[in-house]
């Protein structure tokens, strides 16, 4: 090929997300009116260019390449509105120029990325083996950048870049400065890279050889060399400008490659700001968008006003008033800071510092949220319908096919009932657990917020092997699936990611135990272990018996039915044991509570008792009974809870009939205040009524006690007794009537008639009066 021809091609080096670059690039394109615009990007994605420049597409969007087979690897090329590459494509589309990507195709990039990653890991391993810290005799990228910044008197490289490149309005300076910068940078690092980071060096060499080849091919296709503009990363600018090695066909066939698929996907500013590597300096996408807007209207000098006013406005909206005078002073401070560095306009850092000093009154935390809003922004891109095909969509389709759920992918709501048990009538492993796998997938989708299937609460509470789902496909579901790509490449990875995030921010026992349950439903072993640790950590600090009991209940459920989901729940047993122990130890403390809390405590005690029976091998049953005994004997705790403890002990035959009778007579002896005695009885009557009803002596004692009460005290006792008996079933009430009839020597039917019959008018009135009963100090 003719090297003179190649030299005439216009190379424009950019930073990948740079409004300044876009501005100067557009100026150059307008001036040169090229017939071909070549862009650093995957050369197999050329067909996506028309979708990118389609008027229905709104950046930020990204080209996504992913391998078709497992393990899924992905590479992303994000574009914002102010990306020079994006602007170049748009210009080409509007001006009828040929636009094409010239970097290695994604199939090669995916594989080479993997090689680079492995090489990096190897280097790290070697270094740790040698005990040599990295960067001792090799150049560290970050150190070079920070050295450049220090020499220029800036605090970091971003500030240096923004002041000298983004905000530099002089025509042509951007391009020349970048070529000079790139040349010097390469001189500084190339030799070192060749020796110490050979994979990195080779990677760049291969890419550049390929890009040169593409440029030559474009010339060969008939474009005038001086009417070709190449847009590439600053680092490659110098290398492409030089006449150097060009890749041959034979070499091309030797490149490693894996089959990939390409798609466009909507991207978000948040994602853009949190991603590292590609085109550093996009930590504030919304700020750069503001900059780009101002550049287009040629009012860049107004950027500080807009930026600082936006922050003040956001603060006002959230209830922190900030005056316009403060915004004015902030602008002045930012400009003074810029002047200290001899710059023409304030950089983002200057603006942020000014905002902190004036609008935050010195405090960063006050303005942190506003800064995040204005710097990063919440924009999410969009694409024309049907353009997007992401790996997670692929994964979902693959799973639906595998689980024979494809026929449910309709917009008509369909019922699906699942039997999670092993299906013994079929032979293959896959179909044995078909329903279980289906359930897992649907749980995962629900967890990701994808509204494809909804779990319908089943009527039978204890048929844990059955699940009823309502399945419906809709366009929203499609969008939700695409959006989940940002969380992970497959449904499984994405759900694990979300679960992990929840776990990291989890702060209550109830939430942690709920997350364990979710991990079990979604069959995520690793996260289940993390969740277990989280719960353990939180429980260690908690003394709240009600919460601990609720968590223990969740755990015992999971342990009981985890086998159904083929989850190994053995690791949860020690935790259950620990929780149970804590609940027992704090039971006595927690029982010192008011009546309102006592209701919750009773259900907690119920659960604990159930657990002590169900998992009697693991948990310390004797400790439980012992603590119950303490509670039942104590007079200074909530009497209902003491009574309830006694009821449990009775039911479990932990106290003898003799002991029980003694306790009843002690509690119901004349002279005991009505609220204590009747309250205690109320607690006692909450469980195993048959045991109560079969004890004649108990009723005798109760009768004797009530008779002994004065009128005033009787009214008090009535409140508790009425509440206690209100939960009895009619049949039980009849039995009580029989008992009392016997006691009073009247006919059972007669007693029943009086006791269960309608109230007379004056009786109603008397009871109504009780509603106004003055509870005084209890």
């Amino acid at each position: 090929m003719n090297s003179v021809a190649t030299a005439a091609v216009h190379i424009f080096g950019v930073r990948h997300l740079s409004p300044g670059g876009s501005l100067h690039l557009l100026e150059l394109l307008q001036e040169l009116q090229p017939t071909a615009v070549l862009i650093e990007g995957p050369s197999d994605a050329n067909s996506e260019i028309q979708h990118l420049t389609n008027r229905h597409s709104t950046p930020p969007v990204a080209i996504l390449a992913f391998t078709e087979d497992i393990p899924v690897r992905t590479v992303l090329w994000p574009f914002a509105a102010y990306s020079p590459e994006f602007q170049a494509m748009k210009w080409a589309a509007e001006n009828g120029a040929h636009a094409a990507f010239i970097d290695l195709p994604s199939s090669v990039t995916v594989t080479m990325q993997q090689l680079r990653l492995e090489a990096k890991e190897n280097v790290e391993e070697e270094e740790t083996e040698d005990g040599k810290p990295s960067g001792s005799d090799s150049f560290d990228d970050s150190s070079i950048y920070s050295r450049i910044a220090t020499i220029a008197g800036e605090h970091d490289y971003d500030m240096y870049w923004e002041r000298n490149y983004e905000l530099n309005p002089s025509k042509g300076v951007y391009r020349e400065a970048i070529i000079a910068f790139s040349t010097q940078m390469r001189e500084l690092t190339e030799e070192d890279e060749r020796q110490h980071q050979r994979v990195e060096y080779a990677y760049n060499a291969v890419r550049e050889a390929y890009m040169r080849r593409q440029i030559q091919d474009t010339i060969a296709a008939g474009h005038e060399p001086n009417r070709i503009v190449v847009v590439c990363g600053a680092y490659h600018a110098a290398a492409l400008a030089q006449d150097s090695y060009v890749m041959t066909d034979q070499e091309w066939t030797h490149l490693p490659s894996r089959k990939t698929k390409l798609t466009l996907m909507p991207y978000s500013y948040y994602k853009l700001s949190s991603m590292s590597g590609y085109g550093a300096g996009n930590h504030a996408p919304h700020y750069y968008e503001m900059m780009w807007e101002r550049m287009q209207t040629n009012t860049l000098e107004e950027l500080p006003y807009y930026y600082l006013s936006s922050i003040a406005r956001w603060m006002r909206e959230t209830g922190n008033h900030r005056s316009t005078a403060e915004v004015i002073e902030a602008v002045r401070l930012a400009e003074a800071l810029a002047a200290l560095h001899g710059g023409s306009a304030p950089t983002l850092r200057d603006l942020r510092d000014a905002a902190q000093t004036l609008l935050g009154r010195g405090d960063l935390s006050v303005i942190a949220e506003a800064l995040a809003r204005v710097d990063v922004g919440t924009a999410i891109g969009s694409l024309a319908e049907g353009v997007s095909q992401t790996p997670i969509q692929d994964d979902l389709n693959r799973m639906l096919k595998q689980l024979k759920l494809e026929k449910y992918k309709t917009t008509v709501a369909t019922d699906l009932s699942l039997d999670l048990r092993e299906n013994r009538r079929v032979t293959s492993e896959e179909s044995t657990f078909l329903d279980l796998n289906r359930s897992t997938l649907l749980h995962r989708l629900a967890w990701l917020g994808i509204s494809f299937a909804k779990l319908r609460p089943s009527g039978q509470e204890h048929a844990t092997w059955a699940e009823y789902w309502v399945i419906q496909w809709s366009p929203e579901v499609e969008i939700q699936v695409v959006e989940s790509t940002l969380l992970g490449e497959t449904i499984e990875v994405a759900s694990a990611y979300v679960l992990q995030q929840k776990l990291d921010s989890c702060s209550t026992i109830a939430e942690a135990s709920w997350l364990i349950r979710t991990a079990c439903d979604c069959r995520m072993l690793e996260q289940m272990e993390t969740a277990r640790q989280t719960l353990q950590r939180l429980a260690a600090d908690s003394r709240d018996v009600i919460q601990i009991a609720a968590a223990a209940k969740e755990l015992s459920m999971i342990i009981g039915y985890g086998g159904l989901r083929r989850m190994d729940t053995a690791r949860l047993l020690p935790l259950l044991e620990q929780l149970f122990m804590r609940a027992c130890l704090f039971l006595l403390d927690a029982a010192q509570c008011n009546d309102e809390a006592a209701t919750d405590m009773m259900s907690a005690m119920n659960e604990l008792n159930r657990i002590s029976l169900e998992h009697s091998e693991q948990v310390d049953e004797s400790l439980w009974l012992q603590e119950l005994l303490h509670l039942s004997e104590r007079d200074d705790r909530n009497p209902r809870l003491s009574g309830f403890a006694c009821a449990i002990l009775m039911e479990r035959h932990a106290i003898t009939a003799q002991q029980c009778a003694e306790e009843v007579s002690r509690r119901l002896s004349p002279g005991i205040p009505a609220d204590l005695g009747a309250g205690w009885f109320e607690g006692l009557s909450q469980r195993n009524r048959y045991a109560l009803l079969s004890r004649q002596s108990l009723w005798e004692q109760l009768n004797a006690y009530i008779v002994s009460l004065s009128d005033d005290e009787f009214a008090r006792a009535l409140v508790f007794l009425r509440r206690a008996f209100s939960s009895f079933a009619p049949r039980e009430k009849t039995m009580i009537a029989e008992l009392l009839g016997e006691l009073w020597g009247v006919h059972a039917d007669q007693a029943a008639e009086i006791l269960t019959g309608e109230l007379k008018e004056d009786e109603v009135k008397m009871i109504d009066e009780l509603n106004d009963f003055d509870f005084e100090d209890f």
Partner: protein, 367 residues
């Protein structure tokens, strides 16, 4: 007639403009930047004066170590005629920074209002020489100007120390001064207007928050900078080393400057107790109730030097350090004693042979 050099010789503490006379002169001589009205050097030179550097053959010692950006923001504030408020924990070099900034920009750091609970509005505005007032009525001669008023007339910088210690009506007096930039003297029928270059640098203590909370109106008239405690071990060691050396030479202490080893030990103990965990972040510690600032580490070390010089052989021993540590950490609180004991046994004891001597000395002292 005494020369100015002699005049300053036996002062306890030299003002910054005297202490760094030569550096200021060198900076002024070499200054090429644009000098704002009322300033004696360009903002860039002020920055060099505070953060250190080299001008011609003169080495400029760094006065504020650690956070260059904060100094830049302070200077930029003063360039824009705004008043500056420095807030921070005790011992974060607020006054030190304010004095040096004033010395560099205005050349005279003596116009100071010391804020106390007893500071009255007269200290901020003006008062009268009552003998003259009674004899001649209100005359310009009888007027006693406050430092703030003098700074306004001269176009200089006044310093207001511990502003949050003052009663709120005294703070309020500043509001109109800062927005109108004039003080009117109705008795004389005249107004004193500020000349260009006038500004105020105030300091306030975060631990005083709530004593006399500054009003929003006043806060709005200041650019507020929060001075942090030194961000890392090396910075703090450097600060302590530099100040200890300076103080030792100005007090003429006849003792060796503490070895780096002792310095690092003291700073380690201070940092760990301040942050409530060991440096490797593996162990949680209890922090004492009082503040343990860098400034205290400095005074602890100079104290130990004085002890060593007066009662020892001039070398700082572990016992000297232990006495200082006990004083700095255990402040009239029984709880602090337990915190210190816990730290000694749980952390220091396990640190090995190098710490053994100090541990034993501290242990004895804390009995």
């Amino acid at each position: 007639m005494v020369t100015s050099q002699e005049q300053w010789q036996d002062m306890m503490c030299l003002p910054a403009e005297q202490l760094y006379q030569e550096e200021i002169a060198a900076l002024k001589k070499a200054d090429k930047g644009k000098i704002p009205v009322g300033w004696q050097m360009s903002p860039q030179s002020v920055l060099t004066f505070i953060t250190g550097g080299k001008v011609g053959k003169t080495v400029i010692t760094p006065k504020y170590i650690g956070n260059k950006r904060l100094v830049e923001m302070a200077i930029a504030t003063l360039v824009t005629d705004r008043a500056l408020l420095l807030i921070g924990e005790p011992g974060t070099a607020k006054s030190w920074l304010s004095e040096n900034l004033t010395a560099a920009i205005y050349g005279h750091s003596g116009l100071v209002v010391q804020g106390t609970a007893g500071t009255s509005e007269e200290h901020v505005r003006y008062s009268w020489n009552y003998a003259m007032l009674l004899a001649n009525g209100p005359t310009p001669e009888a007027l006693v100007q406050s430092p703030v008023m003098r700074a306004m007339e001269a176009g200089g910088i006044a310093r207001f120390e511990e502003i949050s210690r003052c009663a709120s009506e005294v703070q309020d007096a500043l509001i109109s001064i800062l927005s109108e930039k004039t003080i009117s003297v109705p008795e004389l029928g005249r107004e004193v207007s500020a000349r260009k270059g006038f500004s105020i640098i105030a300091t306030a203590n975060t631990r005083d928050r709530g004593v006399n909370e500054m009003s929003a109106a006043l806060k709005r008239r200041f650019n507020i900078l929060i001075l942090p405690t030194p961000s890392d071990m090396d910075t703090e060691v450097e600060i302590v080393k530099k100040r200890v050396r300076e103080i030792a030479s100005s007090y003429d202490l006849q003792a060796a400057v503490p070895a780096d080893e002792a310095l690092i030990k003291v700073v380690t103990i201070f940092r760990e107790l301040r942050s409530g965990m060991t440096l490797d972040k593996k162990e949680k510690l209890k922090s004492p109730a009082g503040v343990i600032s860098t400034a205290e580490a400095i005074s602890l070390l100079t104290n130990s030097m004085a002890l060593a010089a007066s009662f020892g052989n001039g070398e700082i021993t572990d016992e000297d350090l232990a006495a200082g540590l006990q004083g700095a950490i255990v402040k009239d609180d029984v709880k602090d004693k337990l915190v210190w004991k816990e730290y000694l046994d749980n952390v220091m004891k396990k640190r090995g042979a190098e710490w053994r001597g100090l541990y034993t000395a501290c242990k004895e002292m804390n009995e």
